[in-house]
């Protein structure tokens, strides 16, 4: 019944543009086992799995199933071998219904009337694993957890014996994570094997039987989870002892910079994405917004920076009403913005580095004389960002698309910070960066704050929030579940708040505002 008793990947190498994404990787997983692939963002976990799934071809190395070498030229071959993959960014057609998505991925979909015939098969199947999904809903109407279940159904229908899950928990609530773990345990008992990719130590320890740790494209360690502990894994993952905290001097509370009152914002799906959110932000303060991805963080950031209209409520900066002003006007009032999808929003890929270095600032006096741009100054400015933020590039008249993601990110951060904003709205500023760059950027944020700016930090990484923030708000389904000081003892319940099952507030004034 189970076709894959043992899967091995031997000496896998793969490089992109001369940079090793994978170097001499060896992994093995057996039937009924859950293997954890642990590593930071950019460690090469996803590349390795894309090779296994036939999306990339390895430069060298081999894949063996039950001891026999196989060649996987494309995803279809991989599916036929019994491998299924759930990508971090779901491979679903958003505008199509659940059943259409399943029909697309199922290899035995009948040619005529695929929906009608598949429906029965899926019904019986999903009761086995306890999936509850309306097959006629459009995918965009589903929650992230439901979308993931659709992905899992797809792989199981195709007879996947080995399931690859790429960062499956990053978009899930605590309850959904529990449900996912249940499903995985059931599959394990059935003899399926699972490769579970994550950078979160807790999950790896809870779910996996053994774990392989990757750093910068190489294997740096591996262990049975029962023989190791979190600290040991963390050490392997970053390659040195991690100081989990950063020295943060307590700054006196300054003047009020930002005040958000009862704002409501509509999301892309036409439903309310931010509901009745209120908070205030002071000089010298870093204010964190924690929460599972997709709970309104992006819409809130876009509403404050003027990209998305605010339905009702007020946003004020230094007492001035900036509600629904244009992004440029809001920028001119001193609000910088590091957007969530940087490559999509933050750069014009075909333009030069120095063009991109002034994306939101080209209209400022220092960069333009009358209607003309002052390229001499712009180039100087670009060079100073590049040196200060260690952007690796050979020239400033290089198209920015030639830079790696991390370097683009540093340039954008440099650009947004360099103008010494009143308020910096930063969404996941260190996502995807290596440890060194992350520490470097965090120090910059603290420094910015010390110099008198306020920072509104959106992050899914609680460590980051605790390391940097003075206060944290937890957002769930578009609502603030509460605002707490990071040294508040009740902060341990933050997980409950992120799952939407608990509300709390630090002081009665703000409690009055949020209700």
């Amino acid at each position: 019944m189970i076709k894959i008793q043992r899967l091995e990947m031997k000496d896998i190498c793969k490089s992109f543009q001369g940079i090793h994404a994978n170097k001499d990787i060896n992994v093995e997983v057996n039937s009924g086992e859950i293997l954890g692939l642990l590593g930071e963002n950019g460690a090469g976990k996803t590349t390795l799995m894309n090779i296994l799934y036939g999306i990339y071809q390895p430069d060298s190395g081999s894949i063996l199933i039950n001891g026999k070498p196989v060649r996987i030229a494309n995803p279809l071959e991989s599916i036929n071998l019994g491998i299924g993959m759930v990508h971090q960014h779901f491979m679903l057609i958003q505008n199509h219904s659940v059943i259409e998505n399943i029909a697309l991925g199922y290899k035995d979909t009948p040619f005529l009337f695929p929906r009608k015939i598949l429906r029965q098969k899926i019904k019986s199947f999903s009761s086995q694993f306890d999936f509850q999904i309306d097959l006629d809903q459009k995918v965009w109407q589903l929650s992230a957890g439901e979308q993931q279940r659709v992905e899992i159904i797809k792989t199981l229908l195709n007879g996947a014996d080995l399931l690859i899950l790429d960062e499956p928990t990053s978009v899930l609530t605590a309850r959904e994570i529990k449900e996912l773990i249940d499903i995985l345990r059931r599959m394990k008992a059935d003899g399926h094997s699972v490769i579970f990719i994550s950078h979160k130590l807790n999950e790896i320890m809870e779910i996996c039987d053994h774990v392989t740790v990757l750093r910068k494209g190489r294997i740096v360690g591996g262990a049975q989870t029962k023989d190791t502990d979190k600290l040991g894994l963390a050490r392997m993952m970053v390659g040195k002892d991690v100081a989990l905290t950063m020295d943060r001097e307590k700054l006196p509370k300054g003047d009020r910079v930002l005040s958000v009152r009862n704002i409501h914002v509509t999301g892309d799906k036409g439903v309310a994405a931010v509901k009745n959110v209120s908070f205030e932000l002071y000089k010298n303060e870093i204010f964190g917004v924690a929460g599972v991805a997709g709970n309104g963080q992006r819409e809130l950031a876009e509403a404050i920076t003027g990209i998305r209209p605010i339905d009702s409520g007020k946003v004020r900066i230094n007492g001035r009403d900036i509600t629904n002003l244009s992004p440029r006007q809001i920028y001119d009032y001193g609000i910088s913005h590091v957007p969530e999808e940087r490559i999509r929003f933050g750069i014009a890929p075909g333009l030069f580095l120095y063009d991109n270095a002034i994306l939101k600032q080209h209209h400022l006096k220092k960069f333009s004389k009358w209607y003309f741009l002052n390229y001499e100054r712009i180039k100087l400015h670009t060079k100073s960002i590049i040196t200060e933020f260690r952007v690796a590039t050979h020239a400033i008249n290089n198209q920015i698309r030639n830079l790696s993601g991390g370097n683009i990110q540093k340039l954008i951060l440099g650009r947004e910070i360099s103008e010494q904003p009143q308020l910096l709205v930063a969404s996941h500023p260190t996502y995807g960066l290596d440890v060194g760059a992350t520490r470097f950027l965090r120090r910059h944020l603290l420094e910015l704050c010390r110099q008198g700016s306020a920072v509104l930090l959106f992050s899914e990484d609680l460590d980051e929030i605790f390391e940097l923030c003075d206060r944290v708000a937890v957002i769930f389904a578009g609502e603030f579940m509460g605002i707490l000081d990071t040294d508040d003892e009740r902060i341990n319940d933050i997980g409950m708040m992120m799952a939407g099952s608990k509300r709390m507030n630090s002081d009665p004034v703000e409690a009055g505002l949020t209700t």
């Binding site: 199509h96 697309l104 040619f111 005529l112």
Partner: protein
Amino acid sequence: MEEIIISTIQRTMVAGTPLLLATTGEIICERAGILNLGVEGVMAIGAVTAFIVTMTTGQPWLGVPAAMAAGFAVSLIHAVASVTLQANQVVSGLALTMLGLGLSGMMGKPYVGRPLAVKMDDVAIPFLSDLPWIGKALFHQSPFLYLAIVLALTAWFFLERTRMGIQIRSTGENPKATENQGVNVALIRYACVLVGGIFSALAGAHLSISYSSSWVEGMTAGRGWIAIALTIFALWNPARAIFASFIFGGIFVLQYLLQPLGISPNFLAMLPYLSTLIILLAISFKDPRRLNAPARLGAVYKRGER
């Protein structure tokens, strides 16, 4: 009066036929995510090929497959450019239009002013054509009309009710995810561009060997462009395209009806183009999510891009 109404309906059907054929083809193509602005050119090629073959063989039925082959051949250019070579689809389509109009002019030059001895006969459908009023208007018509309606309904069924239809629509919505399910996106896109081209060529063939029986340079007169607009009007649904095409057929006929009333013929000639603008404007007030446009229409897709 009765005769006027019957002839109006009849002419509406005739004028709508090429629009329906071309629109259906463009819908298939755009559903797979490829914008083909070359319809006008492919139509012209189809028209001239059908005309030449019919003229030389005396067999209109040979003109049709010849036009289809020609439509296939010129559309291949757009398929290669937009799928394999990842070229800008707007520019590639425009190039195809220029080439098609030019090539048709060159091929057709010796045939200008020589009407066909035999053109494609209208076909009366037994029994139905005997019905009063609508019998003559709807069921005693060019085979192209029946073909257009059958093809549009088939295309609708194919896109909505078959596995490959799901694959085609998924390709236009999210090629990356579709490729990931083991579907060959490039193959699907090639097929859809080529089928779209064949349909456009059929539209052209209708113009030269059924609608009229002579070849005039530029006889497509912007119908290819109107078909592209009708694709939007039909919300990328071939069944709705039937309705949309015959409305526009009606607008073409309106020109002849209003001319005797002393309205400037040039103003009347503007009507189809003006109506296109007005209809697009009306459509734009619809909720974009219900507009149903393929999400990745016109976007270059590179396989295995990081």
